[in-house]
């Protein structure tokens, strides 16, 4: 089961999907593109735990984290 985690007002919202389910995969890709288009950054983790920013949807990734665009505080 793969997960897309979106940071939001509630802490985060998680969308779990089965990467073997074509319909769920399509929905996950649509969500990825919508969030990226809205300025969110998508990050995944390497096997050693280091974060990596990704610009394209990868159906093999177990966990993707989205956070909003950063601005000066």
């Amino acid at each position: 089961m793969a997960t897309q985690i979106i940071m939001d007002l509630n802490g985060d919202t998680r969308h779990n999907f089965d990467a073997k389910d074509a319909k769920a995969l399509l929905e996950a890709e649509r969500r990825f593109k919508a969030l990226s288009g809205a300025g969110f950054t998508a990050a995944t983790r390497t096997a050693s735990g280091e974060p990596v920013v990704t610009r394209t949807f990868d159906p093999t990734v177990e966990e993707t984290l989205f956070f909003p665009r950063l601005v000066g505080g």
């Binding site: 802490g11 985060d12 984290l65 505080g73």
Partner: protein, 143 residues
């Protein structure tokens, strides 16, 4: 007689003060407790910190990251503390081994997020796109 009454009153006053103090402490703990969403944010942060960063965070309520472009070290303080004492987002300090920290950086996610999420976004930004993160940031001189 008068002295006895005075001693009794003094004892009662002490007990009343102790009870008030206990109530005040309980109220403070209740008021400062993290909300569910804040707890979720901190849980997510802990999941994404490296072992070393997690140990630092548990011990000091801050953790350090290495900028991916310059190799500089940055210390990310727990966001709520800095919010109270330094203002919005001023919780990232650039470290210099040779001198006291001279530069702080303010950058936060555009949406209003809980403390754990803010710190996690700052960590990922510095570790994956240091120049981009600092380009959007305002700097300040740490006190």
């Amino acid at each position: 007689m008068f002295v006895t009454l005075l001693n009794d009153a003094n004892g009662q006053l002490r007990r009343l003060l102790a009870a008030c103090l206990q109530l005040a402490r309980a109220f403070r703990e209740w008021y400062l407790r993290p909300s569910t969403r804040e707890q979720r944010g901190l849980k997510l942060l802990r999941e994404w910190l490296s072992q070393k960063q997690l140990a630092q965070y548990d011990a000091h309520r801050y953790f350090e990251v290495i900028g991916c472009h310059t190799g500089k070290r940055y210390r990310i303080y727990i966001y709520i503390y800095i919010y109270i004492y330094h203002g919005n987002g001023a919780n990232v300090i650039e470290l210099d081994d040779a001198a006291p920290p001279r530069t702080g950086w303010c950058f936060v996610p555009g949406d209003h997020l809980v403390a754990g999420n803010v710190m996690l976004a700052q960590k990922i930004a510095l570790e994956t796109d240091e120049r981009g993160a600092l380009a959007s940031a305002n700097n300040f001189t740490p006190r």
